[in-house]
Symmetry: C2
Subunit: 527 residues, 2 copies
Amino acid sequence: MITGKNQIGNTLSALSKNTFRTFNPALSIANEPLFYEASDQEIEKAMQLADEAYATYKNVSGAQKADFLDSIADEIIKIGDVLISTYIAETGLPEGRAIGERGRTVNQLKAFAELLREGSWIEATIDTALPDREPVPKPDIRKMNIPIGPVVVFGASNFPLAFSTAGGDTASALAAGCPVIVKSHPLHAGTGELVAAAIAKAAAKTQMPNGVFSNLNSSGIEVGQKLVSHPLTKAVGFTGSFKAGKALLDLAAQRKEPIPVFAEMGSVNPVILLREALQNNSKELATTYAQSITLGAGQFCTNPGLLIGLQSKALDQFIALLTDQLNAISPSCMLHPSIQQSYENNKSTLIAQSGVQQLTTSNLELTANYGLPSLTTVSGSDFINNPQLHQEVFGPLSLLVRCKNIAEALQVINSLEGQLTGTVMADKDDISHYPQLIDSLSQKVGRLIFNGAPTGVEVCPAMTHGGPYPATTDSRFTSVGTAAIYRWVRPLSYQNWPDALLPDALKNKNPLQLYRRVNGALTNTAI
Amino acid sequence: MITGKNQIGNTLSALSKNTFRTFNPALSIANEPLFYEASDQEIEKAMQLADEAYATYKNVSGAQKADFLDSIADEIIKIGDVLISTYIAETGLPEGRAIGERGRTVNQLKAFAELLREGSWIEATIDTALPDREPVPKPDIRKMNIPIGPVVVFGASNFPLAFSTAGGDTASALAAGCPVIVKSHPLHAGTGELVAAAIAKAAAKTQMPNGVFSNLNSSGIEVGQKLVSHPLTKAVGFTGSFKAGKALLDLAAQRKEPIPVFAEMGSVNPVILLREALQNNSKELATTYAQSITLGAGQFCTNPGLLIGLQSKALDQFIALLTDQLNAISPSCMLHPSIQQSYENNKSTLIAQSGVQQLTTSNLELTANYGLPSLTTVSGSDFINNPQLHQEVFGPLSLLVRCKNIAEALQVINSLEGQLTGTVMADKDDISHYPQLIDSLSQKVGRLIFNGAPTGVEVCPAMTHGGPYPATTDSRFTSVGTAAIYRWVRPLSYQNWPDALLPDALKNKNPLQLYRRVNGALTNTAI
């Protein structure tokens, strides 16, 4: 049963009189029950508990943390159908998506558990002493990664499971040894509460300290601001809009002790359509892109919002096919009336810009809260000269830029801000003719994709879900994949430290059997 | 011959009428020649050239960059005696220090050259495809580190060679593939020019693009501010005061595109003196610390500015010995009259605080610009209650805090801000009795030292010269040791990218013979 209360460590709490409900966009009705806004007292309690938990949790072994993460995964599955039905009621997304996202979330937790058991994320590095070195002896220096402290995670509107309560930010921070305080997303507070309860159960079962996890409700921005400003907070994970992410970044920079903010703030994910690809595969390509643009009602940070083509018959044919396909796709329910309204507003602003034309049919009778797929187009020169056209329209929309030639396409790419992904649709021969294009694109993105769609972000060690500002606030880190753990750690070195007092990861005998870099060479043997 | 001009790519330039001179603090005279402030036009030129150079330099092979770094090292040695005499004339530091620091600088460049030849810094990670995976195929994803773009480096007053023109920041950024623009430190502009010329020669000899390096003169703060604010700057390296570092951090955060600032801003480097160590080795300890406190006139960021002892006969004896030793050490010339004046002012402020007592003799007749070694003392409770006492006094001074017991020592440690280092002087038995003390100290520092002095920062893979704010602006990175390269890179992933078009580091055949993480396992074999 969903209580509407805040999960503060191992207790439920509802001190505030301020309440809110979530909304079912498919049925246009408010959901039960009432959710209680986190009060200042509850924020303080969650932060104090997190700080206390950190004192022991930071020293919990990798094997024990792995059991905790596995247990969270198990408890999420055990919630059963109510998790799926709550997810659907709070998002308007279909059952298949809910089940898929649950699977992704559980697999993510298990991937971090595996990483902890394997241990390489500690990056143990040892340089042994040279006592006879002249003119001064070389000391013994050993280094490993340690957790940085309590982490505040913001739930994302568009991924109630995989990027929210027990999503990638939480899983990676808990894996690193950092307690987590989640600012639950108000659109899916019920889903959040169910998952928070699963985490609390897992923490109790695996004897984790009270306060290792808390989940706070809030329908506004104040709770999040207070969490980011709280002196005990050591880092922030966020997925959402540029406006909100930038506000948190600025807030964190103004603290007495500035802290890192890892905000993933969306992207238009440019796709370059080279000639031969269009000539050979235009139908298949149109199908791929019609599906990618409308996947999840276009509510993905990797949605292909910008298609860049070279004027040609093949491009005209592709445009016609893609327009037909998008016209034929039924509109999907969006996450909330406010999101659907923003989509309509941003689309109208886009279409009102000089030279922009909408290609898809726009006179369909729409169910409330549904987003109509849209393909718009503009010339390369109009695009280059109007930064408004570079902005993301969150929803099932793509802007196709028609370039006169490769030189103009290059200008279009160079005019872009930082992006999560950049895709090239091409034949292999085709692509090898334009090294400058690829080189320029690589400077703008965190992930390059060949002949695919940017939607779909694999959870694996080699994934970069990140990119230059303003796609994220820190291009040096990813928020998806096991490397996401590095956001929550810092190195600590030990000089001439007695072996018995070193952490196990750095002891001569290598009791954890880690691969360590010893005097420059990787080895898992003892010293 | 020193020209006083700015090194802008491969040309010398002196457009400004604003000039300044460096100063010989040992002789109290201004040095020849005049240095020309970098003009706005010269700043713009250096940044444009750096950006153009980046287009090719980012793709230069590791082997070629290694040759460039080795060549810089060679050219620095070839400067010969004039480098040493200029260094001495601009700093008042002794010849041995000048020669030692040159050796360190050259070895640092060579260490990064070796790192480039070895290649592990690229962190090549490959997850191969699973085309038959259900419900969706797994794509091939490959990741490596790439350089982020032009880096602005600020020369440090106290290390004209090792932390300035061709110091650790420059060496690591050039190794990463980032062009460097140095804001030369005005106290040693001549030393800077000589080293800049060596870098320019090495760049020409090894066919590096024009603009891969520039060196700009400035006696004020405006040139540095303009460089940090310049849209083509992608990151900043700085070593110096908290005030200056924080100002740069704020400036970078206010840019349209915020950029990372790696500022190392000093530290009081707490040293905990446990009972048995004092009982058994007080004389040796006093000698070690008298030398560490006065090394380089105390002008080190790792200077032991804070000694924490437990009230006892052994502590009293140690204090007496250390006081005697410091009284017997001749004052050293400080870097500049302004630095000597700051030292005197900060010392006076410290001594004026409630409960602070100066133990060393302070009535010596001093040569101008010389800094008198000083030992001061205060009780644990006075220290905890007065944040002014937590501030660094840059110079040959240490504050010894007398704690009633271990509990108070723990309170002292917990009251501290972030530090570069924390040292424990103890017997092995001794230290194992106070796990809480070590645990708390580890939360405050980047490097823990057992029975040693914090001065002396080994250049090696396991070194962390960094630490929690305000010791640095980013505790996740080091500014000394080969790991310093990670400040200037970001990951880029390739999805289903054609093998022939992948960078060599990620190709199936592994032509660079790198150790790569392939499907989770480290291997240097082909795929």
